[in-house]
Amino acid sequence: DAGITQSPRHKVTETGTPVTLRCHQTENHRYMYWYRQDPGHGLRLIHYSYGVKDTDKGEVSDGYSVSRSKTEDFLLTLESATSSQTSVYFCAISESLSTIYFGEGSWLTVV
């Protein structure tokens, strides 16, 4: 398994509270991604990073922000969680773009 650790793995939070999900890699890969997975939608890209402090928006970035201050860490923040952000969040890493490795997911429930 690629060295990707997501935390927390499960979280229940209340509407309006801030939430931060962490992705930590031990592979020194350049690219890091945050996806969300919802039934019928496959995985949709939220934000990605192509280097330290270099990030860009994906398909569904509204309501999310990211930061990458170190190669190994990529943080996803929900500034004010809403019920529509209840989802499974996957971090992914890549060096060659032709092979992307996914973490095991973080289950987030917003009540």
Binding site: G42, Y48, Y50, S98, I100, E104, G105
Partner: protein, 110 residues
């Protein structure tokens, strides 16, 4: 606009059968065509991929067929096994981003 359409949404086959999953795309900028396999509670994992300069690629029991003119590619699983029961995603790549299809839930009955 849905760039990647995957079908069927679900599929049930008997052990030994040959399930076929299809993916149609619109974006001509896609230049790499992978399939990912996902087991419950796990993240997706790359299964097999093809580049647009070939029409078919085989890896073990898994085959990708690619039709550039029709903008379609498909996954065939030969001699399917119960352990192949999973959700499969096509996820063509353009630039540095994958675009996922909606997924196909495959069940292989013993």
């Amino acid at each position: 606009q849905q760039q990647v359409k995957q079908s069927p949404q679900s599929l049930i086959v008997q052990k030994g059968g040959i399930p076929i999953i299809n993916c149609a795309y619109e974006n001509t900028a896609f230049d790499y065509f992978p399939w990912y396999q996902q087991f419950p509670g796990k993240g997706p994992a790359l299964l097999i991929a093809i580049r647009p300069d070939v029409s078919e690629k085989k890896e073990g029991r898994f085959t990708i067929s690619f039709n550039k003119s029709a903008k379609q590619f498909s996954l065939h699983i030969m001699d399917s096994q119960p352990g192949d029961s999973a959700t499969y995603f096509c996820a063509p790549l353009a630039g540095n981003m994958l675009t996922f299809g909606g997924g196909t839930r495959l069940m292989v009955k013993p």
